[in-house]
Amino acid sequence: MNTITTPQSSEHQDKPLPLMDDVITTSNYSQALGALAENPLLFNTHWATQLRLTAQNQQKVIDYYDFVDAQALTETLYPQWHVGNPLAAIAKQAQRQALLYIERNGQKLYPVQQFDTDSAKPTLIAEFKILMAKTREHKLTNMELLHWLCTPMPVTLPNEPPKLEQHLNEGDYESALSDIIQSGPSKVIELRPIDIVRQGNTVLFKQLLAQWLSPEPVAITPQQRSVAAEHLKAQMVALGIDQLSVINP
């Protein structure tokens, strides 16, 4: 096995990063690795930190949501749904990316929180359809979407701002300052986007979404993605982190 050592001091300095076997080393993989080699910073702990963050965020997703497989989905959530082959129907919806899922050990798992359980057949909450289309445009993975949905984000509930104009126009700055002090700090609350969307507050939900995804992205080719994924796979192996399958579902 070929090895390359990290050129800068780091906690992984004495842990050589293994290259993949020559048999499976593609020219694209070498290209990606070559780009890394040009930049020593990319070799040390920072990519390792990113990998750890990815693993932590994925764990948060796993812990937060209730996941079911297709069988449990049809039997538990929609027992009254009568269709010839429900498992095939679910699989088809997943293939069309009309359902949000992650893959674990080759199995598709569906977060229960995406479903409108008042419906007689597997149906997404309306906002999820828009959300999934939006995140696909932005080349985000299902795991990345699920992580954003379940992470609490601070929202400021501003106080009524003090009317300073009169004091300022009169040059009475002490009174203006006194008004600011009396109005006090604004309140900050934490909200999970998933809770907002499930409560049907679409206006607030769209605001939260716009904070995350604003401009439209430029396309990345599948080949570019696959090369990067190969490199990450090698790094994850080196760091003892598994579950690569859910990074690019």
């Binding site: 300052l177 604004s186 990345i220």
Partner: protein
């Protein structure tokens, strides 16, 4: 609390000629252009209106380092979720140097706590920050900007906002030789460092480009 401290001339400082800052901006606009965001979507200290003519004051924001700029924009603590590609694809960073001195108010957290009893910068309390900016600009007509600490960086870096009514930016040299995309080789390391320092995960789309296999090169 000592409210008078906030209104003291002692807080006015001259930033010296040659001091450098960095600015991140969308590549669809000029880095020198004052934004035209509305009062409905304010930034920390701007926009606000002042005086009998209700003059609208806009602000242009800078930070000490490229990483600090990134922490203040795309990696803010209150922003959740992985960093999407679209957040970095259309942004650039540029180095800026002061060509002459700049009159600024040094607004520290300690001063705010002593004056208001709380720190609206730390809490990202934009409505209060806006009121404070309005008060300072009215009290000190020659003020060109506010220098304030970056709580996003957890470090001793400072941010600067300059006001549209007090400078036409001819006091600034925008160094186009040090202007580049955030995903360019020049700023890619800063991006990775800032992400890790902020504990933010890059999305797979950003990672693809940072790994050097995409159009970012």
């Amino acid at each position: 609390m000592s409210a008078a401290k906030l209104l003291s001339q002692d807080n006015i400082h001259q930033l010296s000629k040659g001091r450098r800052f960095y600015r991140i901006f969308r590549d669809t606009v000029s880095p020198k252009a004052f934004p035209s965001n509305s009062a409905a979507h304010p930034w920390r200290f701007t926009p606000f209106t002042t005086g009998p003519q209700h003059t609208i004051i806009q602000g242009l924001y800078f930070a000490d380092t490229p990483s600090a700029c990134m922490r203040e924009t795309i990696f803010r603590k209150e922003k959740t979720g992985v960093l999407p590609l679209s957040e970095v694809q259309e942004r650039q960073c540029i180095e800026v140097e002061l060509k002459s001195t700049l009159t600024v108010f040094l607004l520290t957290g300690q001063l705010l706590k002593e004056t208001l009893g709380f720190d609206p910068i730390l809490n990202n309390d934009y409505p209060v920050c806006l009121s404070v900016a309005k008060l300072l600009v009215s009290k000190f007509p020659k003020l060109q900007g506010i220098l304030f600490p970056s709580y996003q960086t957890d470090a001793n870096t400072m941010n600067l906002v300059v006001f549209s009514h007090a400078t036409d930016l001819t006091d600034f040299k925008f160094k186009t030789t040090n202007r580049d995309d955030l995903l360019s080789p020049r700023y890619r390391c800063d991006l990775l460092l800032a992400a890790c320092a902020a504990g933010k995960e890059l999305s797979s789309g950003v990672r693809d480009i940072c790994l050097g296999v995409s159009t970012g090169q």
